[in-house]
């Protein structure tokens, strides 16, 4: 069977994976969710909206390297060591944010694809293993195709434009061309790395949420903390963007107290593959080589080589994960679990209220939406407090601008899918449950 045909097949697998992820996060509200997607198209196209939002965010991030490049050339003469440091730092921030945004937007879907469920039926159709592996790969690529294209293009385009505008007259065509090539190389590697990380994380999430020991306390804890980390990360990324934009120019302009410590820092950081090596490599090509200590150049190149090695390893792991996913024996079992004997079967009664609580916790932790409902109210004040303490919040209130819009949109998008669908689906059932519980409490007394 030809690859193009397999790619077509992957469309159906992809749709099934989306439904799987949506149903999974709808939990006990599945019936209502299904009713809803039959009726309204918005719920069905939710995923496409997500995709475009992610692409827009990833694209918008490019202002970080653009600002950096202008700052590098503006402050060129002042303190090369510090400029190298600040430039590398902001490029590294850019790469990290790209990864995090990709994950924040695509993780839930990646989980759906990584759960293996959507492949079971494909296995009964006339495909061989090789076909199914390819279908697995195509399905995944489909789920983030737009993001990936944007991610690999935006840096080279941004860098080349900014360099031409900021220093085109000094640098000459040859140097600009070289910088473009480097940025393409870095961008492609970074995209592959991010993709691989997403695959691995998606699989981990699928295991934690679906296959891990059902109702143990530990499993509940793991699920809640996974979701909490997910949310905190989403919040932090918004904050990082916010602070990044506000403070980036200042970072370049402050003069460090101790020049010696800056150069030591540069040397040390340049050796670290993630997240610094890419930033340093990019920066040493932007700043004139003659102004950079040779140890930093050695460090960047070494760090970059380590990074390539890392990309290779992570990609290998991701491909293996994808292979396992599309192999039929995917369903895990826990060989360590001991056999239950007749004496293990025992009833332990508590009060009805507590019984309800207990039941709810184990159900809730398996339902993403409900976990979000639990965590969200806690997150917002924390988030506001952090922003407030950094002063960034007041600045936002103070100067209206793009960043403000950015922040509002981001928070909106992250929460929208959960809050909206939860509130739409949960209200009625929630009400009934509450009544029932209230009754029980009363009867109990």
């Amino acid at each position: 069977m030809k690859n193009t045909e397999l790619y077509k097949v992957s469309k159906s697998v992809y749709k099934e994976a989306i439904l799987h992820a949506q149903l999974q996060s709808a939990g006990s509200n599945q019936q209502r969710f299904l009713e809803r997607i039959q009726k309204d198209r918005v719920a069905r196209s939710q995923n496409i909206i997500f995709k475009f939002m992610a692409a827009v965010y990833i694209a918008t991030l490019v202002f970080i390297p653009i600002i950096s490049i202008f700052q590098i050339y503006l402050n060129f003469g002042s303190n090369p060591e510090w400029i190298t440091f600040a430039g590398s730092l902001s490029f590294s921030l850019f790469f990290m944010l790209q990864l995090v945004i990709l994950i924040v937007f695509a993780l839930m879907l990646s989980w759906g694809i990584m759960s293996g469920g959507p492949y079971e039926w494909v296995h009964t159709l006339p495909f061989n293993r090789n076909h199914i592996q390819k279908i697995g790969l195509f399905t995944f690529a489909r789920s983030i195709n737009i993001q990936l294209i944007v991610m690999s293009l935006v840096l080279p385009i941004g860098v080349t434009t900014a360099v031409s505008l900021a220093a085109g007259l000094y640098l000459g065509i040859g140097k600009i061309f070289l910088i473009s090539i480097v940025s393409i190389l870095i961008s492609v590697l970074n995209t592959i790395f991010n993709l691989a990380i997403l695959v691995i994380l998606g699989r981990k999430l699928a295991i934690v949420m679906e296959e891990y020991d059902f109702n143990s306390k530990r499993a509940n804890f793991v699920r809640i903390s996974t979701m909490a980390i997910y949310l905190i990360t989403s919040m932090l990324v918004v904050m990082a963007i916010q602070i990044g934009v506000e403070k980036l120019p200042i970072l370049f302009q402050i003069s460090p107290l101790n020049a010696g410590s800056t150069s030591i820092m540069n040397i040390v950081l340049s050796f670290i593959p993630v997240p610094f090596s890419l930033g340093y490599l990019m920066t040493i090509f932007l700043v004139d080589f003659s102004m950079i200590p040779s140890l930093v150049i050695v460090g960047s190149v070494t760090g970059f080589l380590l990074y390539i090695l890392l990309v290779y390893l992570v990609t290998k792991k991701a491909l293996k994960t994808l292979r396992n996913i599309s192999s039929p024996d995917i369903k895990r079992f826990d060989p360590k679990r001991k056999k239950t004997a007749i004496d293990d079967i025992q009833i332990k009664s508590t009060t009805p209220t507590r019984a309800y609580m207990k039941r709810d916790i184990s159900i809730i932790t398996r339902e993403t939406q409900q976990i979000m409902m639990l965590i969200m109210p806690l997150m917002l004040p924390i988030y506001t407090a952090i922003l407030g303490s950094t002063g960034a919040f007041t600045e936002v209130i103070g100067n209206t601008g793009l960043t403000e819009l950015f922040i509002v949109l981001m928070v909106f998008v992250v929460m929208n899918s959960y809050i909206l669908s939860v509130s739409l689906t949960i209200i009625e059932t929630g009400e009934k449950q509450l009544q029932l519980r209230f009754q029980l409490i009363l009867e109990n007394k």
Binding site: K15, T124, P126, R129, D334
Partner: protein, 297 residues
């Protein structure tokens, strides 16, 4: 009420119009299998961790027979069937399907098998319309012929109104109908059906049984897994009784009753006798009475 009986009769009448059905199914010429053994399984073993799901299973399936895999819950029926399809990998043992090795000739084998799984695997995100178009494209089926078959199956299973509903929203029985139809469209030589009657109403069950019978009359085979004795007794030509992954007995109903030393006995007696459960059932019943009998309502 009388209306229901009438429509039921109409349906049964429809089914007995065998010529029509035959001619319809025969569109695809004769079955490609003539006399070769359909499935050969020898010493099959499959474990999950420390659970031995299938333990040294050996059996053959001949062309033209409905072969029953009968056993209590957890006996290993589904596991066996999944290994035949290549959905699970065996630990050891030999398997041939149509004389081919499932690990090497996956596509050739899957081309000739129709599979109804225990839990429907068909895509919930599709409507039946999408589903059957998808299957037809993947299996390269003839448009006209398949349309004709599809209409026939939808009518006889009374599912026409669900053709454009999302499969996720169908009832269990209607999902089951969809996966049954999906397994039949490419006119496979071997049907592997894991508890196919689950969720089907009496009429649809009857239609399905009739379809299976016709299938074997045309030289095809069926592997029919079930834990329900009456169903096995009614549907299957030969029955393999499984318990805890092991083959307890295999043969026609008469052969099994000879083995159980109970001429003329029904399958339930034979089954209990052969799985050494007859005494334990009597024991369980006695204890149940003791436990529940004391608590008069």
């Amino acid at each position: 009420m009388s209306h229901e009986i009438e429509s039921f009769n109409k349906c049964v009448f429809k089914i007995t119009q065998r010529e029509l059905f035959h001619s319809l199914l025969k569109l695809n010429n004769e079955m490609s299998v003539k006399s070769e053994v359909m499935v050969r399984v020898e010493n099959l073993v499959k474990t999950f961790g420390d659970v031995v799901a299938v333990n040294g299973l050996t059996f053959d399936v001949e062309p033209g027979e409905i072969f029953g895999l009968l056993g209590p819950n957890g006996a290993g029926k589904t596991t066996t069937v999944k290994i035949l399809l290549g959905l699970l990998e065996e630990d050891s043992g030999e398997i041939e399907v149509f004389g081919l090795d499932p690990s090497k000739e996956e596509i050739k084998i899957k081309d000739r098998i129709g599979y109804v799984s225990e839990d429907p695997l068909i895509y919930r995100s599709m409507t039946p319309r999408m589903l059957f178009n998808f299957i037809s494209s993947i299996r390269n089926l003839d448009e006209k012929e398949t349309t004709e078959k599809l209409r026939y199956y939808f009518e006889s299973l009374e599912a026409v109104e669900y053709y454009d509903k999302l499969i996720a929203t169908l009832s269990r029985g209607n999902k089951q109908k969809m996966q049954v139809i999906a397994s039949l469209l490419h006119d496979p030589d071997l049907l592997i059906m894991d508890e196919p009657l689950t969720g089907l109403d009496a009429k649809s069950a009857k239609v399905l049984k009739e379809i299976l019978e016709l299938h074997t009359e045309r030289g095809g085979s069926v592997i029919f897994s079930t834990h329900i004795l009456e169903v096995a007794e009614e549907v299957c030509d030969r029955i393999a009784i499984m318990d805890k992954g092991k083959l307890v007995a295999i043969g026609t109903l008469e052969e099994l009753s000879v083995m159980a030393n109970k001429a003329g006995a029904d399958l339930e007696d034979i089954f209990l006798k052969l799985t050494n459960q007859d005494e334990s059932v009597a024991h369980i019943v006695k204890n149940l009475r003791k436990m529940l009998g004391n608590n008069k309502k």
